[in-house]
Each structure stands twice: as C-alpha cells, then as structure tokens.
Amino acid sequence: MKALPSIAFNEFRGSAGDVTARVSQGRQVLSARTVPAKGKTPAQAVSRNRLSKISRSYKKLSDGQMKAWAALAEKMKGISTFGQAAELTPHNAFVRINSNREMVGKPLLTDAPVYTTDVPEVEYEDFWITPERIVFMNVHQPSDNHFLVVKMSPAQSPGVTNGWSKTVIVAPGVDVEYGDVELTERYVDIKGFELEAGKKYFCEFWWLDSTTGFTGESMWVSAICKETSVGYDAPYVPRAIVEIDEMYLESTRNYISDTAIGFSKGSTMVNAKFHYEFRNTRVNAYYELDNVPDSVPNCRIFVLGRGTRLSPRSVNMIRVDFTPKEEYFEVQVCPEIYRAEHYYDVFDTTIAIKK
C-alpha cells in the first residue's frame, strides 16, 4: 500500500510500520498493527472454505435472484449496538442465510426466502452445567425445522464478568431430543474443553430456522459450574435409564454391554437395548450397579433378543429383573428358554410387570 507522507492528512488508510490507519464514521483512526497468527486451525480452515464457497456462489445468481436478495437485505438490516441501522448488502444476506443453513446440513438457497421475524426466543425449563454434564431440560422447540445453535466459553475464573468474546460454537445446530438438549459430549469430547466445578462459563444460544436460514434472538447466560441447576438451583433429575457400558462376571462368565434400558409413561413401558453373553452353561447373571436413578422401579420385563454368534438370526425371549437393594441396584438377566445361542443383541420394547 502506498502511504501518504504524513498521517496528519485525512483519508489515510493502510499500514505503515507498526501503525494501521483507517477511516471510521468520518474520523481518522490509528491503531497498532495486528499480525495474524501464522496458519489456521482446522476449524478455521473449514469455516473459511465454507464461507468462500458460499460467497462465490452469489456471483452465479441471476439478476432477478440478486434483486430478491437485495430486497431481503433491506428488510434484514439489524440495529447495531449504538442504535444505528447496520449495513447489510445483498451479498452479506446471501452469505449469512446460506452459512446458517449449511451449519445444519441444508443445501444452498439461491432464491431469497420470504422474510420473517418470528423465529422465537429459546424457551426452556432449566439448565445444568455440572462437572458431569451440560443439559437444557424441557426445551420448547418451535418446529422440527428449528435447531439450537450454542456458543460456550472455556472455563473462566468466577470473577470474570465479560467472557462473551471467548465463546465458540459448540453446537452448530442441535436437534431437541425428547425435550432435552445435551451438550456434554460436544463440549468435552469435541471441543476438548473441561467442565470444572466452581469455574464460570459463558453461553449464548439461539434458534436457527433451517428452512429459511433465519435466526432468533440470542439468549445470554453465564453460570458457575455446580451440581444444581442454573434456573432453580435444583439437583439434576436423570432420566429413568439403566445404563451399563460393559460388565463381566468372572464367577459365572456372563457379559453385558452397550446397555440402555429406559422407562416411559404408558403403564410403565420399557425400551431395552443391550448385548448379552453367557459364556458357559450358567444363563442367569446378577449385576450389581451403582448410580441407578431412584425412578427405576422394582419390576420385571420380557424382551426379544437376536442371536449373534452360534445361531445368528435366532430369536429368544430374555427376562430382566430390576431389584433395588440396600446398597446397590441388582439387574438379573436370563434367557428364559435355553437354546443353542448364547450371544444376543436385544432391541425391543415391552411393559414392566410385577415380579
């Protein structure tokens, strides 16, 4: 860039040495020149490539399509922090809408969508940030096309009052599953951030309408990581699910894994998923579990399992008994009719009955 000989002149723009000059709102602004960190993070590379691709697609639009995006941009002009309408070019509107849609796996929209302001705020019953989980409970999802976008910061000291600039997107469009939004895995496993008791976390979230690309108003919450909820200071109530990653009983050589047995309303209906093996003739297995939710009842279920090894595709009925004991919760598993197959995948629904 060719520098003017003196920065005393107006309209001095560009960088010289360690100084960068620009004109903003009719005023000359000088600032220290920033040097970008060398290289891009993989996430930055993906994001910038995505935006470049969308941006280049704008040039391929017809005149009529561009006019429609111009009309939309005019309607979409937001209000800036200082109350002045922010500029929004048709190109910006096109990139913004399509990058939102792309976040949730939707294809490029070449025709401008109809403008709507009615993407609502996020309504939910409560919110936990505990050392074990990040969960929104009873989220009211406006429609199946609305996805939640969540930004969160890494752990901050409790004294930090403004960590909003440190938030990054942890959930670029999450579907609400059975009323909950669970972010633990995304935050911990994907982002590599830790959940630390006593630390403060900054969260920003909003709805994204995947059909139009429009977003709703952002909600801002900062919270200290603790065992009780952000809204009502209530302990977390887990779903009534018995979960076992894997357990092997040495004495009887019985093995169970990938277990999720959940209880639902409807005269107590049960959905069961697990893999079960009895590696000798002892078919019964008694598993002693900790941390089973109090809501899991004392009951019995019969479910169907499919053979996986000795008689693949065979089907048998398997009984599972749930018994709360004083110091643990006992789960007994037993294929009721002894057959050649000893290895079963269970995926079934049933009702809970009294033993």
Partner: protein, 236 residues
Amino acid sequence: MIITSTGNNFGAEPVEFKVVLNENYVILNGRVLFDRKTEEYKAADVLEIYVPDLSMKRSMETAVFMNYTSKQYDRNGTIVRSWIKDKNTICLEKVEVNAAYTDFEFVFFCAYLPKGQRETFIVDGEIDLQIENLPKNMYCEHYCAYVNESWALICLGIENIGAVDFGTQFTLDLVNFPKDISAELLLSCPMGYAQGWGNSTLPARIQNGQFICDGYTELQDPQVSCGVIKAYIVTE
C-alpha cells in the same frame, strides 16, 4: 385407527397399519410383503416406509419380525431393528439372509417408545393371565399380558411343542384374557442347535380367550421344540 403408507424406498406395495398414536408411544400392527430382488431394495441401506403424521418424531429401536421361506426348512424368521426416524418415516434394518429364501414379509406387532423419561413409575395394569389346558407334556412357565382400552400386549414362552405331532393344531386357554380380542399372530421357535437361518415360524392366532397354533410342518419337525410370542395388539 388405520393409516395407509404413502410410499417406501424398497419397492413394496402400500400397506395398511392399525395404529395407536399417543404422545408417549406408537403401536403398529401390519404386514409388508417385499421382494429383495427389486432395484430399490438393493439400493437402500436402510429400509424406509413413509406414513401420515405419527405422534412422535423420533423413537428408540424396537423389534419387528421378518419372515421368509426356504425349500429346506419351510417358514422361518428373525427380528430386525425398527425405529421412527421422523414423523412420517418408519425405518427398518436391512438384514441379509440366504439368497435362496423367498416370500419375505415384515410383521409389525410392535411399539415405539422415546428415551427413558423423568417420571414416577407405577408398575400396574398387568392382567392376571393364567395358562390352562395345554396339550400333554407341553408347558408354559413364562408369560404375561397387559390390556387397556386401546391395545394389549401378550408374551408367552411355550416349551416342548414337540409333544404334539407335526401338522397338529394345538390350543392353550388364556384365562382372564379378554375374549373379544383377536389377532393373527405367529409363534417364533428358536432351534436347539446352532444354525443360521433364524427361528421356525408357525402361524397362530388369539381368539375367544384361546391361543391357537396351526402346528409345525414336516420340514420344521426336527427343529421345533419351543416357541416365543410377544405381540402388541391394537384393539381400538
């Protein structure tokens, strides 16, 4: 109520389902004949049936029976995973079996549930089912049943089916099971020795408070010794 499928991705004909639609569960009864040789079936990774709006947009997996015929062993079957993918799509796992098998059908007597909920659960509603008048030497020690105004569930594990000869129909009395509930079902019989063709499948029905099985065929004779039945029956 009855709904008719609006399409599918594996070349099957439209199918009518008897359904119970509740915000906490969906119960389906129906049968879908299909041909594994269609291009659509071969192209599909997951089989999908499209239906009018269901009462839930997603479910956990449940079991649907898949039956087929072989020249060697007559009617056989297994179970496949099924789940509700969205309000209008029921998915089925694609399970491969021997290429020589024919006459495939999916048999739905199943319920779809959401993930476990946050509730206080009361275990109640089971009827006091008793099994009586079994054929000599046949026995049934594992059973239960539940009935409400819209649907019923019955589970039976019957042993020593070989106590009757092949081709012989047999009957059990389902004491306390409502006599006005009837359904065409199937008895699924796991075999006693290791093999890979699934269970023998015997036609059966419930009517007038009885479980009636048409018996096993001569081809099934060496294999059948016990049978299980677990079926949600839509009654409204």
